[in-house]
Symmetry: C2
Subunit: 252 residues, 2 copies
């Protein structure tokens, strides 16, 4: 049984947007901090990982939102490194209300990379052992991110403050570029219910990125099933895709 | 004697830049949160201020940095609303190391504005009374911000995440635009020792601002005194200046 690690957090005004609810960069920042605390407590901090010549990277998130945490709310942040296979570690995060109700669930896919060669390494059992993660054979699949067919984009320059103390662009920052293109009207009239995001390449300081998006209005499919409002996103530099995402929304 | 209010804070990795030290937006965010907590504790929260038809605005900061807080450091955040005159309230913040050593001192100038008419109001004594602030006659003066004579600029669009849960652009966000123009090389080779920043107008979502700057290399003045390296900054839209700042730096 994987070890669970839990902290509490009071949601600050500067972690929230005009909707009075927590932003994705703030939620992911707190989630990752909690996993770093667990890793340090289990003697698997960055120095230990570095002693294997490796560093953690996050390749994707799959996020389910019941309700976003609100300004001033006391939340619990729980995490568990549940499973791993040859190349991927599956870590779960939960943001919970004070009474334990689930607000947000984040499934994160981690991999280990050699920072010199930039190559992904297989996961050494000794690194994962203290977390009590279950070794599995299969590779988990998340909702498909369909390509953009009729998109628009806005350009963004990667800023000094987009690089964090870990020396690279914090991948929570991608959400600034993904969300911003949707505009004030959209972002204040809709609530996100689900996000799948995949990080393909790492953007660096000074890069000029394009944040492409397409809005797929809610509809009914051939089988008569309701298909919710979705937005598809691609962060690109020239022809290269750095990040892809699909968001599902409901009207407020 | 003005009431002092103090909290503790653990510096998170996502509050720090590549220098492993806290960013200005993170420091100011935590400072303002502490003052909001003090105000709430003294029954002077935003609803009470709103009952006078008013809201707080910050017109300037004067910041003295001995050493910036580091990733993982436990700091104390103290605040005191020390003085006020007819139109301005002078609030002090201190970020202190665990042993009480002063790391950063922030003097903030607050004013009260009618959000309908956008006019600054005189400060009602009853609003300030619980803080124990001393009433003074004089207006405090901070270092002069000399105008830019030979500048360059970069443009920035005000993003959705730049507006916080208080519905306007958090003035800590101005530091993103002020710092970013100086570039990676400058920002990793120099440490800030002093900042004076004045907010003249409020930028709004969707605005395209210009972040102008001028670097004044260290020199010796006519009297033979050493003048340190300084950068002067102006946030402009067209001919209108929204914010001015002067930073003093030392080499690392």
């Amino acid at each position: 049984m994987a070890a669970k690690y839990q902290t509490t957090h009071e949601v600050a005004y500067y972690e929230c947007d005009v909707n009075q609810t927590m932003t994705f960069p703030a939620m992911l920042g707190i989630a990752i901090k909690t996993s770093e605390e667990q890793s340090a407590a289990l003697n698997r901090g960055p120095e230990v990982i570095a002693s294997y010549g490796l560093t953690w990277i996050i390749t994707s998130y799959h996020i389910t939102v019941t309700r976003l945490p609100r300004v001033g709310e006391q939340i619990q942040v729980a995490t568990q490194a549940r499973e791993y296979n040859k190349f991927f570690c599956y870590r779960y995060f939960w943001l919970l209300a004070e009474d334990g109700t689930e607000l947000v669930k984040i499934e994160a896919v981690f991999a280990l990379m050699d920072p010199e060669t930039r190559k992904v390494s297989s996961v050494p059992d000794e690194i994962v052992a203290p977390f009590g993660s279950e070794k599995i054979k299969r590779i988990k699949r998340y909702p498909k991110i369909t390509p953009i067919t009729q998109g628009q984009f806005l350009p963004y320059r990667v800023r000094f403050y987009d690089i964090d103390s870990n020396q690279h662009v914090n991948n929570a920052m991608y959400f600034n570029w993904l969300m911003d293109v949707l505009g004030y009207e959209f972002l204040t009239k809709h609530e996100v219910t689900q996000v799948t995001i995949r990080f393909d390449r790492e953007v660096a300081y000074g890069h000029l990125i394009e944040s492409h998006f397409q809005i797929n209005e809610k509809t009914v499919d051939e089988a008569g099933e309701a298909v919710p409002l979705q937005t598809i996103h691609e962060i690109k530099i020239g022809e290269d895709t750095y990040c892809e995402a699909i968001f599902t929304w409901r009207e407020k």
